[in-house]
């Protein structure tokens, strides 16, 4: 049996293959990991503009007069503070305080919220939200109705502006507009997962190929590159944005993941609130912290971290930072040892290699 048969595809799959992308099984999705070179694609985003197919991401729509109550109950951040056209990073937790997922909540209208969730969690998230839905408000699994592309980098705005009448410089960071791109309805959000300025575009699946091609043409003068999941990962790591299954998962709480800012304990009850209140009162035992390699070697996800030769934690993500030209990573350490400036060792193929904890993010764009 050909295992590729069972992989899910986005509407841009044929285009990726035509562009010669290297395709991988990413959580059951047949996705491009790179087109030419992860390094080139990474630099294109930092210096000019890059285009990503992120159509594997999931969409869940919550509608009805009680929509706010449900979204407020299933997420950690203050949904009531959103204005129409605003997006918010948030956590979807289990009762014990661990992450079911991280999500972007978009307020489309007073009675309509649009959630963008991780590809591999989308069915689980839909079920998680549906089970909590004692308000009997409408919760729709809407992933099949959307393709998603991300255009990111200092020239993202200039590129996308050629294809849309929406005044892009009027969209503030973490805000969105429902308008048109290439003459078809599109949701254009000033969000991203790279640490650069840019937009995420949601359109009907059938419209995605024409918009993708149009964006690559529009960005040609800036040196646009199609970018795969490889560059997406190096970019988000430099910006210290969490990846589900790595920095966050069912056994990790927002406080441990250095994401306390997405938890609003003052709001009414939400799933996981009691566990988080308890953890806040008692203090966290472990904490996510960034590090740079001092010795030769590259830390990778899952490697053990030692302090003074004793096991102290584990690496959640690691690799070369193309922008900083250093080998960087994120790891969990006992909270009292997680301050920047501490010498640690990463166990790389049974050899302890020296690293030092550092302040994060590793990379922050100039405003």
């Amino acid at each position: 049996m050909n295992p590729a048969v069972s992989l899910k595809t986005t509407p841009l799959n044929e285009i990726h293959r035509r562009l010669g992308a290297k395709m991988v099984d990413f959580g059951g999705w047949d996705m491009p990991v790179q087109y030419t070179s992860i390094l080139e694609e990474h630099h294109a985003v930092r210096r000019a503009v890059g285009l990503f197919d992120v159509g594997h991401m999931g969409e869940i729509e919550v509608r009805g007069p009680e929509a706010l109550n449900l979204v407020e109950y299933v997420t950690t951040n203050a949904v009531s503070r959103l204005e129409i056209g605003q997006a918010q990073y948030s956590g979807l937790l289990y009762r014990h305080g661990g992450f079911a997922d991280d999500v972007l909540v978009h307020k489309v209208d007073d009675d309509h919220y649009f959630l963008c969730v991780n590809a591999s969690n989308q069915e689980k998230d839909h079920e998680h939200i549906s089970i909590a839905n004692s308000w009997k408000t409408n919760v729709e699994f809407a992933s099949d109705r959307y393709a998603q592309m991300a255009i990111q980098g200092p020239k993202a705005l200039a590129t996308l502006q050629k294809l849309t009448p929406v005044k892009l410089d009027g969209i503030r960071n973490y805000h969105f507009v429902d308008g048109e791109v290439s003459g078809v309805p599109a949701r254009v959000a000033r969000t991203g997962y790279t640490g650069e300025d840019g937009f995420e575009i949601y359109v009907a699946p059938d419209e995605a190929p024409a918009i993708w091609t149009g964006l690559l043409e529009a960005g040609e003068e800036f040196g646009i590159l199609p970018c795969g999941l490889g560059a997406r990962n190096t970019l988000r790591l430099e910006a210290k944005m969490a990846l589900y299954g790595h920095e966050i998962h069912a056994s990790i709480t927002p406080y441990e993941a250095d994401l306390g800012w997405i938890v609003k304990l003052e709001k009414p009850d939400f799933i996981g609130k009691r566990a988080l209140e308890k953890q806040k009162a008692e203090g966290i035992r472990r904490k996510l912290v960034g590090f740079e390699m001092r010795g030769r070697g590259i830390a990778r996800d899952g490697y053990e971290v030692l302090i003074d030769g004793l096991p102290a934690g584990w690496v959640t993500s690691g690799g070369p930072s193309p922008t900083l030209n250093k080998n960087i990573g994120l790891c969990y350490l006992p909270a009292e040892l997680a301050a920047p400036g501490r010498t640690i060792q990463i166990l790389i193929r049974n050899q302890p290699v020296e690293a030092i904890t550092v302040a994060t993010p590793f990379y922050k764009r100039a405003k």
């Binding site: 990991v33 992860i38 990474h42 490889g230 190096t234 030769r296 070697g297 590259i298 990778r300 690799g319």
Partner: protein, 125 residues
Amino acid sequence: MYPENLRYTKEHEWVLIEGDTATVGITDHAQKELGDIVYVDLPKAGASVQAGKTLGSVESVKAVSDIYSPLTGEVAEINELLSSAPEKLNEDPHGTAWLVKLKMSAPEEAGQLMHAADYQAYIGE
């Protein structure tokens, strides 16, 4: 693409045999699969290596991969170029970016290695 004078392994290493010395590298197919190579970890000169056992590792942006020694012997020389310019492995894997030279202790093992045509068929190119 795959020179006739080299021999190849299923793990995508190549070997050039000259007298009792074997120069070892990774194939063009291997570098393409790995993508941008950023770090090469090699044994020290004088280390003994065994056919089929780990010789070192190559790291791309994305992941780390083991290199297996095609032959048994002693490391006579390592390619210093790769510590300062690991990207050469992407550019010239069959030439200047060789990994190590081995002094073979069991030259008969070379009989097990693939010829260029067989390797090309093996990787489907």
